[in-house]
Every structure is written in structure tokens, then in C-alpha cells.
């Protein structure tokens, strides 16, 4: 698990509507390239890898809701456009099972598709000259890191955690007050300024969204654990495929 299945009612309207709009545009572009016989040939392939994704997601790895999702592997084998279609289909089915929200299908699809597309690019383009094991591990780890960053950024931005974590406004208030009181009232008011500074610092500490950051920190830990498991699994499966069906790893290049 490298991402959050964002549930319904967590993201503001603007965020999830934008997610749907961008996903719809990308889906349109992906489907435009698939016409006629090519579309009919690729359809069972999408169904097959989508089913495999669903299956791996349905096997929990311990008490936390951690599971493999094989997104990077799907990206490496299917390429960016087919993996986008697959991920959208999987997200729709997951949402109907209460595993991620129906309103957040667009956002969830975008995050996972970015992971798959980066995985494909790193594996087939950027690290093409490296040994297979390094190539796979680097592609998987960096792609998963991207999706974790996107997930965390989304949680932070949509809940306003980033602004709450930076109590800059109080510093500005303090700077505005301090020179005036020092000039007008001398040493006595210097103590007053100190008290004001302490009070403002207290307010800043109070306004710092501690619980929000605790939640975010816990989430980061869970996601990093997921990253490790997913990267190792991807490495193992790619190693297996390179021995048994090496042609599959070149599928997206043949396209």
C-alpha cells in the first residue's frame, strides 16, 4: 500500500470535482489511442491485470489495512495509458465495495496513475542501462515515494494543515507591536513586550495543529512501511518474470 484510499466526505467539493475533470480528460486521451481491433485486443488485458490488482488488494498484510497493489508493476508492463484505464476501473470497483470513496475515484486514480507512469518511465527510460534488480528497486521506490508525497500533500493541503503548521502571522503581529511599545514606553514596556512575546508564542503553540500533525506523521509511517513491502514485492516479481516471461517486461516498448 503506497497511497490512501481517500474516502467520501474528506475532500472539499473543488478538489474531488477537479480530480474527476482531469481524470476524464486523461481517460479520453487514453481511449482515443485505442480504436477498433486494438481496443478489442487490449480489453481482456486490462480486465486481467485489473483483476490481479483487485486480488492483491484484497489480501491484508497484518492488522493494519496494508496490502500490495502492484501499481508500479502494472505501469512497467502495461505502460502509462493502459495502466490509467486499469487503475480507473479498479478504483470504481473498489469504491463500490466501500474501499475508497465514489467521489474520490478521480483523485485516487490520478495519484495511482502518476505512480504507474513514473514507474514505467524510470524502468524503461531513465534507468534502462542499469542492472535489472537496481532498475526495478529504484523505479518502484521512487514511484511509490511520489505517490506518498502526493497523498500527504493532498491531505495537508485539503485540511489546511500546512498553513496551521506555520504560525507566521503571529510573528508578524509581534514585529508590528514591538517597535512601537519600546520607543514609547522605554524599559517598563520592554518587559511588557517580553510578556506579549511569550503570550504570542503560547498562542502560536496552541494554534499549531498538533493532532493533525500526529495523524499525518502516523500516516507517513504506515505509508513508508507500505513502500518497503511494495518495492520488495515488485523487485521479486520482476525477477521472476525476467526468468519465466521476459517478453512481458518489454510489452510496453513493443507497443
Amino acid at each position: 500500500m503506497s497511497h490512501i484510499h481517500l474516502p467520501d466526505g474528506t475532500l472539499p467539493l473543488f478538489w474531488w470535482l477537479s480530480g474527476y475533470a482531469v481524470t476524464a480528460l486523461l481517460l479520453f486521451l487514453a481511449m482515443r489511442n485505442l480504436q477498433g481491433e486494438q481496443a478489442r485486443r487490449k480489453l481482456p488485458f486490462i480486465g486481467a491485470i485489473g483483476a490481479l490488482m483487485l486480488l492483491t488488494m484484497s489480501v491484508p498484510l497484518g492488522p493494519l489495512p496494508l496490502h500490495l497493489n502492484l501499481t508500479v508493476l502494472i505501469g512497467i508492463i502495461a505502460g502509462p495509458s493502459l495502466s490509467l484505464l486499469t487503475i480507473f476501473v479498479v478504483n470504481i470497483l473498489l469504491a463500490l465495495l466501500g474501499h475508497g470513496g465514489i467521489t474520490t475515484v478521480g483523485v485516487n486514480t490520478l495519484i495511482l496513475s502518476c505512480e504507474a507512469a513514473l514507474g514505467w518511465y524510470l524502468f524503461h527510460r531513465l534507468f534502462q542501462q542499469r542492472r535489472l534488480a537496481w532498475r526495478t528497486m529504484l523505479a518502484a521506490a521512487l514511484s511509490l515515494l511520489l505517490s506518498i508525497t502526493l497523498s500527504i500533500s493532498l491531505v495537508g493541503a485539503s485540511t489546511g494543515l500546512w498553513t496551521a503548521a506555520l504560525p507566521h502571522s503571529h510573528h508578524e503581529e509581534l514585529e508590528e507591536h514591538a517597535p512601537v511599545t519600546q520607543h514609547e514606553h522605554g524599559h517598563h514596556d520592554h518587559e511588557h513586550t517580553h510578556e506579549l512575546a511569550q503570550a504570542t508564542f503560547g498562542e502560536a503553540v496552541n494554534s499549531f495543529n498538533l493532532w493533525g500533525m500526529v495523524g499525518l506523521g502516523g500516516l507517513v509511517l504506515v505509508l513508508l512501511l507500505g513502500l518497503l513491502i511494495e518495492a520488495l514485492a515488485t523487485w521479486g516479481i520482476v525477477g521472476y518474470l525476467s526468468r519465466v516471461r521476459p517478453d512481458l517486461l518489454q510489452l510496453s516498448l513493443v507497443e
Binding site: 490481479l52 492483491t56 476501473v89 518474470l241
Partner: protein, 235 residues
């Protein structure tokens, strides 16, 4: 995630909701989802939650299992809830309840509606290619479950999946996943050949048998819409 179990409930269930038209059920689901998502107060979300629990009883659905599945998204809503805790403790409770209630709406919908009927309605909105992809993914999931069961059994017979042979178990699990991948791709290729032989032209027909819209069901939907809007505007 219990896809096979949900499918069994949808296809062989005899509850009151099973007999209602799919269009009406989807419309009611959308109305409830909108109501839940726009709810801001604990009272509103509490009323929705209570209504959904009563609906589970009324529809003769397995209460505990569906409820446990609906609580799954609350884990992912925790960061959002904790972020609200300092500014609005009430909203911090509303966020996970909203996630669980929305999940419950969708679970009730798919536990009482077989997938082909659901896809028949969805196909009016989504392109045929995507609807076919959903249909095939769903179908292949059940084929793969059988394959995975057989592979897990053979792994156990060879001493894998135990803490004593930890390293062997990990290696065997990865190999099984790889093998599943290879078998899945081959299955997809065979499926393409089978569909071509059967004259597949780019759209799997999964049309719902046309049903007359029953006045009682339409009235029920109208009442539900009114009540939902009223409840979500509470507080």
C-alpha cells in the same frame, strides 16, 4: 474486501431491497450520498447513520459483516479527522462517520443489486469500453480467486506460509505472485480469442430487463430526497 461474498448477497438475496428497480436504487444512493457529504453536524450524520442501520435490518442484510466492511474507510479518514480535532471536535467525529456512512450506502446498493444490472445503468453514463473493462475485471477476479486458492494450497503442502520457514515462505509468495501474473496475462489472451470467436464487436450487452417504474417506488424516492435534504441542512 469480500467481493465474492457481496456478489453472493446480490445474486441470491431475497430481501426487500432486491426487488426494487436498479434505477430507483441508484438514484436513492446518489441522494443519500449527497446528503451525507454535505452534512456538517453530528446530529445530521447521526440521523443518516441510524437510517442506514435500520435499512440494513429492513433489507435483511447481514448486519455485522457489512458494518465491519463499512468501518474500513474510517482508518483513512483519521488524518482528516485529527486535523479538525483542535479547531472543531464535532467535525472531527463527523468526518469518519461521513466516510463510514457513505461506504455503507454503496455496500447496501451493491449487496442488493447484481453487477450486470448495475453496469447496465452505469453504461448510460460511461463509455462502452470502460463498462466492458469493468465487466471483464469483475469476471476475471472470480477466475483468479480459484487459481490463487489452488496455488496457496500447493504452497502449504510444500511447507510454505509458516513462521518456521520464513525466508522460504517469502520467496514462495513472490514466486506465486509472479506465476499469478503470467497466468493472468495468458488468461486475458485466451479470453480475447474466445470473445473474437463469439463475434465480440466492442460492446458486451448487459441490459437490464425493462421494468415499469412503480409509482410507489418513485414516491418513496421523492420522500427520501425531501427528507435527506431536510436532515443534511440540520445544524
Amino acid at each position: 474486501m469480500k467481493l465474492a461474498y457481496i456478489d453472493l448477497l446480490a445474486t441470491s438475496g431475497q430481501g426487500r431491497l432486491h426487488s426494487i428497480s436498479t434505477t430507483i436504487k441508484i438514484s436513492a444512493g446518489v441522494v443519500l450520498l449527497v446528503g451525507i457529504i454535505i452534512s456538517q453536524s453530528l446530529l445530521s450524520i447521526g440521523i443518516f447513520g441510524l437510517f442506514l442501520l435500520l435499512l440494513l435490518f429492513w433489507a435483511s442484510l447481514p448486519f455485522a459483516r457489512l458494518l465491519s466492511m463499512a468501518t474500513y474507510p474510517t482508518f483513512f479518514s483519521l488524518p482528516f479527522a485529527l486535523a479538525q480535532l483542535q479547531t472543531s471536535p464535532a467535525l472531527a467525529v463527523v468526518v469518519p462517520l461521513r466516510a463510514a456512512s457513505s461506504a455503507l450506502v454503496l455496500l447496501i446498493l451493491i449487496s442488493t443489486t447484481p453487477y450486470p444490472l448495475l453496469l447496465a445503468v452505469i453504461s448510460r453514463v460511461l463509455p462502452a469500453f470502460l463498462v466492458d473493462a469493468i465487466f471483464l475485471t469483475y469476471r476475471m477476479f472470480f477466475l483468479l480467486v480459484g487459481t490463487l486458492d489452488r496455488l496457496l494450497l500447493s504452497m502449504r503442502l510444500r511447507g510454505a506460509l509458516s513462521w518456521r520457514n520464513c525466508w522460504f515462505s517469502i520467496r514462495a509468495t513472490v514466486s506465486v505472485l509472479g506465476l499469478m501474473f503470467v497466468q493472468t496475462i495468458s488468461m486475458g489472451e485466451r479470453l480475447h480469442q474466445a470473445y473474437t470467436l463469439r463475434g465480440y464487436k466492442g460492446q458486451i450487452v448487459c441490459a437490464e430487463r425493462p421494468k415499469k417504474l412503480i409509482l410507489r417506488e418513485c414516491l418513496g424516492l421523492a420522500v427520501l430526497s425531501g427528507l435527506t435534504m431536510g436532515v443534511s441542512l440540520l445544524g
